[in-house]
Subunit: 391 residues, 2 copies
């Protein structure tokens, strides 16, 4: 049969057609009244999408650029910070904090697990400058307890800043940014918002803006104070990635259109969509006798499925790609060969979800391990979840 290439990777994700069109046809100069109007509306919409009254800044960089901004803008060399980590992206916080000379207290959990709020509560001190964490750890498929950890931080030390990498979290799980007291929440363009990589965005609380005044780490391109000043005039401090901003604006319009033009409701519908796709996929994997890597607290952004012990997961990844054009992710680092990761964040519908489960059944049958090889078992389990009407 024909093989259409389809991304089922937790970033980049499939591009929204309306965003492709917007991107290709956009040729506006960024220092014009037209662009200022577009950019101001986009920033206002983005606050609604993020779900905050705080400022949201946009950077021309991948998500790591915004993570760096959350270190360089908030810390000085020697500052005490806590990194909450249970995967490869948690480890990126450690690398960043180390690059800026912070004194780091790492609170970790094994890959696939999550750090409990009590563990954070026990370690946060009044002089902890920042706590860095992930909302969802896309290397393991786990969802962290942002609300619980935020509560622990707030109770123990009102002035400690909480920074959450929600690059795969935004649009897949609900945050009460202002209510929970998240000082920075970071997103990326190639995730639930259905556009190509190249933009990062970050919400910034008033407490974080104040902290920047005393933070001495060097920064220039990622200096968020510069961005805030420019954003007040509908501009960005440096040349913005205009084609991607046009695509992002089109994507937010699409998300709103899914709930009668209400962007906040559209975001919740997008989250519910990912939750349903994730629940269908988890049910299918379990029915096929496969183990979920992050079973205790699975994210809806993606599902990490442990490969049968008889087979390297690379064999499954390759077969899905070569037979069906379906691109799924392998494990990262030491998890390579042990799992496949299937994305649900962004532009996936019921047909996509059923289709990838069907492809997985075919590939498993090809490997011929009897207990994982019965056609229809995974698909049936997914159908039951869908018909039940809630994730």
């Amino acid at each position: 049969m024909l093989r259409k290439t389809r991304l089922f990777t937790p970033g980049p994700t499939p591009i929204l057609p309306a965003a492709q069109t917007a991107m290709a046809s956009f040729g506006m100069h960024h220092r014009t009244a037209e662009f200022r109007a577009l950019f101001s509306k986009f920033l206002a919409d983005l606050k609604v999408f993020v779900g905050t009254k705080n400022d949201v800044m946009v950077l021309a960089s991948s998500g790591t650029g915004a993570m760096e901004a959350a270190v360089s803008n908030l810390t000085s060399s020697g500052d005490k910070v806590i990194v909450v980590t249970a995967g490869k992206f948690g480890e990126r916080w450690t690398g960043l904090a180390k690059a800026y000379g912070c004194s780091i207290d790492v609170i970790d959990a094994p890959y696939g697990k999550t750090v409990k709020p009590e563990a954070v509560s026990a370690r946060v001190k009044a002089d902890t400058r920042v706590v860095y964490m992930q909302a969802t750890e896309s290397s393991t498929g786990a969802r962290h307890d942002v609300q619980g950890i935020a509560k622990a931080v707030r109770e123990k030390s009102p002035n400690t800043l909480l920074v959450v990498d929600a690059i795969t979290g935004l649009g897949t799980t609900t945050f009460d940014v202002d209510g929970w007291g998240i000082d920075m929440l970071i997103g990326g363009s190639q995730k639930a918002v259905m556009i190509p990589p190249g933009l990062a965005y970050v919400s910034v609380s008033e407490r974080a803006w104040q902290a920047m005044e005393s933070a001495k780490s060097p920064r220039y391109y990622f200096d968020l104070r510069k961005e805030r000043k420019s954003a007040a005039n509908g501009e960005s401090a440096f040349t913005p990635a205009t084609s991607l901003i046009a695509a992002f604006a089109a994507a937010l319009d699409y998300i709103a259109s899914q709930a009668g033009g209400n962007l906040a409701a559209g975001r919740e519908a997008l989250i519910a969509n990912a939750e349903m796709a994730a629940a269908m996929t988890r049910a299918a994997a379990t029915a096929l006798g496969l183990e979920l890597f992050a079973a205790e607290s699975p994210a809806s952004a993606l599902t990490a499925i442990v490969a049968p012990k008889e087979v390297d997961s690379g064999v499954l990844v390759k077969a899905l790609r070569e037979k069906f054009g379906a691109i799924v992710a392998n494990g990262q680092g030491e998890m390579k060969g042990k799992m496949i990761r299937i994305a649900h964040l962004g532009y996936y519908d019921y047909l996509d979800t059923i289709a990838i489960i069907g492809a997985l059944e075919q590939v498993l049958a090809g490997i011929a391990i009897p207990k994982h090889s019965e056609f229809g078992v995974g698909l049936k389990a997914a159908q039951v979840v869908y018909a039940r009407g809630r994730a």
Copy 2:
């Protein structure tokens, strides 16, 4: 008449149609064999375009990100650096070097002029860590003497690093990167390479790679050593802006196609194209009794034309936009109101050049200052330059 919106700004510049198509249809994951093959070929092509045997690294950021990389990767706090400046972008080097705590010796010239190599020669010392400069200063339209300054630096201090912001220089003027000893040469995507903003690129000499080992300024996202390591495997250290890379690759193919598939020759043809458009524009402006802002050493990237003293240049910018859809740049900062800037870098042809000169004649006639208002005078001068066949 109809008004088609056309950019005549020195970045962003008009987008190549083949790049638009490539950008819109690209949906490849960046950790796949297909992307590694594309990215490796692209990086090899980019070396040819830049004209160097040195590595060329690509960053998902605007050009300022690569400028920051040239400071954070090469310096430690307290290092002595020289900034050669004669415009707004020269001043950006000062801002960056200050952010990283460098001890800065500024060698400046008035806006519109250039710094002479002798001035640099007199100030470079054996302990000067880096000299920062622009190839062309897009705020004034001046072309700096990169060759002369490179020679001055090399003669006075063999180990001093020379970093050239060629964001508007690349594809508009020829550099012998290796022969002159340029340690970093920086480019941006929204300039002569005819694609949207969002990518920066930078060539890195062996001397610069060595200097990074002793440079202590913090860096992570812009750590070029990480990029070099990843590039050896056909990858980028962080998620690349894939749609823009696809567009860039298409643009390099187009540039090569203009010289029978020879990219180096295509680059020279692109430079000659900008030089011809610039020469036509300068001749037209002069014939219309207008003064060139950087008359002593005009860049071919753009032409800065001083507005008649009777009129604020914003009136010309507005009339060109409102009557004809032609977007030209005003002066920046304290030069606002004093000049218009017309771009020649990238995707402009003979018809575009004649057309903008015609529009300028109409707008000047509308202002009715007799000595600048004779129809055909500017166009005729441009025609003569074109017919002569050399800029």
